[in-house]
Symmetry: C2
Subunit: 345 residues, 2 copies
């Protein structure tokens, strides 16, 4: 992250009050939280996708780009346990997204919204040198069930859903598109068409033993460090427990990369990362497998260390806090800073 981004975050945090009428939670989690009606709260999140920074139209066709623009915001609602409800879309367009592409983008965007019963309620469109999409997503849920990053407790188990590292591997494969193969379709799809874990988030938020929760957008190492910092705790990650798909391992051999590095530092998995009271996660995982067909993996535990440590297969242990995702794509006019997918506001 460059100095400008850090300065921005610092300035925003300094200028944002923690108390205001109707405000339950401001900056610092996946969504802001506002009181709504009775026990219900509104969750609000906003994300910007910039061409050549967050997506490359050369391989990210407009239909899937529309799906992803909706999915990454829906994922922020899922990350706190909410039900996504309303979306606003601002699109800055250039000739690279001409009429046909735009129709496909909108078809993909509204298809993803429709899968989660979200309705488009507003937005605007402007012209720009390169495409930029901003999505604001509003969700709702019961106030008592909102899951914050700050709720991890000493001794908690650390869990993740699905497989890790697939989106980062998929991006690496897209960047070598001359070497693409159908056998890696799972990974490319994870990068191009992520699936927000809304049903899982809602199920977990309804369980008392689930404490802290967020979505994995910047990689396990960085995102778990966010939970630890917010909760005033640390974590031990067991490197042998990282859920790596067979295809991911094959791609790692093919590209001569480390699969575990993608899993720890790769971004945009949009799986859920959460902690559970000690001894309670296994039964929950069985229920999730039965009801949602999703695999949960226990990857570590919460400690008093204040940092995230990784224990590797050979027993070595090293600090891995904040080793998160850095985009491979780079803005044309940028001097080399490689921003995370989204900063920690």
């Amino acid at each position: 992250m460059g100095n400008s981004e850090l300065a921005f975050i610092k300035a925003v945090a300094a200028m944002s009050p923690s108390h205001a009428p109707g405000l339950i939670r401001g900056i610092g989690d996946d969504c802001a939280v506002l009181s709504r009606d009775g026990d219900q709260v509104l969750l609000i999140t906003t994300d910007t996708l910039v061409a050549d920074v967050h997506f490359n139209l050369a391989w990210h066709g407009p239909y899937l780009l529309g799906r992803k623009a909706a999915a990454v915001n829906i994922s922020d609602i899922a990350a706190m346990g909410g039900k996504p409800r309303y979306a606003l879309l601002s699109a800055a367009l250039n000739d690279a997204l001409a009429e046909q592409g735009l129709e496909e983008f909108m078809a993909g965007f509204t298809a993803m919204l429709g899968e989660h019963d979200v309705v488009l309620i507003g937005g605007d469109t402007v012209a720009a040198p390169q495409p930029v999409f901003n999505v604001t997503l509003l969700g709702e849920m019961a106030a008592g069930q909102v899951r914050y990053r700050s709720l991890a407790r000493l001794g908690d188990e650390v869990w993740v859903s699905g497989f890790l590292g697939r989106a980062a591997a998929g991006l690496a494969l897209c960047e070598k598109s001359d070497q693409l193969s159908d056998r890696f379709a799972e990974l490319v799809s994870a990068h191009l068409d992520p699936e927000p874990r809304v049903a899982l988030g809602r199920l977990l938020a309804a369980c008392d033993q689930v404490h802290a929760m967020m979505d994995l957008s910047d990689g396990l190492a960085t995102d778990l460090a966010h939970i630890c910092r917010a909760s005033g705790v640390g974590a031990d990650v067991d490197g042998r427990r990282l859920p790596l798909s067979a295809t991911l391992k094959e791609a790692a051999r093919y590209l001569q990369c480390e699969a575990s590095q993608w899993a720890l530092s790769g971004g945009e998995d949009y799986e859920l990362l959460f902690t559970t009271a000690a001894g309670t996660g296994t039964e929950l995982a069985e229920r999730v497998s039965r009801e949602l067909g999703l695999t949960l993996s226990r990857v570590g535990r919460i400690t008093a260390d204040n940092e995230v440590f990784l224990t590797e297969a050979d027993g070595g242990r090293r600090c891995i806090s904040f080793q998160g995702y850095e985009h491979h794509l780079r803005p044309a006019a940028d001097s080399g800073r490689r921003p995370p997918d989204k900063a920690d506001l």
Copy 2:
């Protein structure tokens, strides 16, 4: 407006349901409206500002740019009569906005928020080839007082606040910066640092005789046509009644432009445009002058014509619907399309 923008708006409108739980108003006005608590509603609006399309850093310093990014969104809340409450900011930054400039932007942004008791509750930051700012603003008000574009009635008087055309003249002067002079400071300031009419909007929304309302972002001709189309009516504008400041007339002579054209087709005035029951506006204007020190001007009346007509000084009458603002700034990679400040979502 280019074909892409039109296609986008068409697609969005087609894909946006008018009915959903909790949704009072979706696309088609200055804000979307959601039910909140009891009789209270939430207003939501989002706008994107793109460098070299909506602002030019050569003359629009970061402090005033921050103020304007907040102001144009606050204006959308004011346009429906609401009280602005919460803001989210997404900033796509490049080296042109280095640390110092960014701090100044944030200082201006939060200063404008502070003037209207708005708190910053979230956002994100990314890198981009050129700066893009997206702001989402939430406001609140009593459900029964929300003023929509669709509420104009046959025989209504058409009113505007303040002076018209100043921001467009100010932009024209900035573009000829070698010819700038202190005597035009009023116009340059109207372009660089517009003032959202929040107090006025709230006062008007509390008056039963005020019917349709919106803010003037694309020029009187286009914005009044929006009201007419939404309400199924037409309007006659009296060209002799357009409120033109002495400085505007002087700038028109200086730049050899028509002051009335700026007033009709210039954008970004962020004054309020509204209709009142026949015979009731004058007393309201006196009250507004007394309580807020703001001048209101009756510029026309609502008719059954379905289009906006202008009666000129010589008695000539011509249709002026949708002759709105087109940005003078142009994106570098754009092939000549000049978008309106914001499309009609």
